[in-house]
Amino acid sequence: MVAVSDPLGRLRQEAARLLAVVDETLARCGAPDHHPIWPLLRAVGLLPGDAVTEVVALSLEAFRERADLLRSHHERCAGVGDLVRAPSGWEGAAAEAAGAQLESARAGLGMLAAHAGVLASLLADLAEWAGQGRGRLARTLAKVLTSAQAVELTLDDTEPGARAQAAADIGAQVLAEVAAFWEGGGEIVRDRLARLEPEPAQRGRLPDAPAAGRIVVEF
């Protein structure tokens, strides 16, 4: 779903023509040597118009919907953990084996709930990050749309060197914002996903750990 109701969605339509000229000019004429756009092109891997299209296509609502879903998973998995307990007073070898397996099951449920909570938080934070990033990118687009370089690119008599310079200047501003956008999101993801690693004390009790003894009733 492409959001068109926020400033970026609306400005994207206004900026599309300018960015198409920027992309075409960069592809045809290149950019001046040592211009700041070069490392940005390498970092983002896209021309400015395509880079903006990618950000516009990112759906905040999709992030929010999945954050809500995972939040409900967290509550459901945490809520059933108390049901996984042996009857009080049950004793014997079968009861001991059942107790160990129930503990393992509770650990699995606990991890499922914890991971759902972390992922929910991650996606909610990404929705907020994307919303803020879209706002910053909209301001950048508004700035370049009204820049002297934009005027240069619309004039027929601008000489090729000046056109390349203007396109590179606009492209660099846009790509810098896009690069910061992706880097900010990457930091959130790296930080939150690092919390998904199972703690050492939990690893031995996960569902894929060696199974506890079977429940065998002896007589």
Binding site: H73, G89, L102, A116, P207
Partner: protein, 90 residues
């Protein structure tokens, strides 16, 4: 709570977690669709898949446990002499 009750509860829990697993299966992490080259978003996709797989393993584990507990309850009922175990049928 009897051992039969526990087996029933485990069945309920397995059903709940299976519902979670199915929702993870249905709701693919759509925000990353079309952007596989972005490492961060690819990691979200992988974390989502790992969560779905963990849910599947928990379901399998609890179902197996429910079966074992139900079998134990059946065995207790089937014999006249309960042996060394205690408290299996309060």
């Amino acid at each position: 709570m009897t051992i039969d009750d526990l087996a029933g509860r485990l069945g309920t829990v397995a059903g709940e977690v299976e519902g979670v697993r199915a929702e993870l299966e249905r709701s693919q992490p759509a925000p990353v669709t079309g952007l596989p080259s972005r490492e961060a978003l690819e990691r979200i996709r992988l974390a989502w898949i790992e969560q779905r797989d963990l849910a599947a393993r928990v379901v399998e584990q609890i179902r197996r446990l429910a079966g074992d507990v139900a079998q134990a309850a059946q065995t207790y009922r089937a014999v006249d002499e309960p042996g060394p175990d205690r408290g299996w049928s309060p």
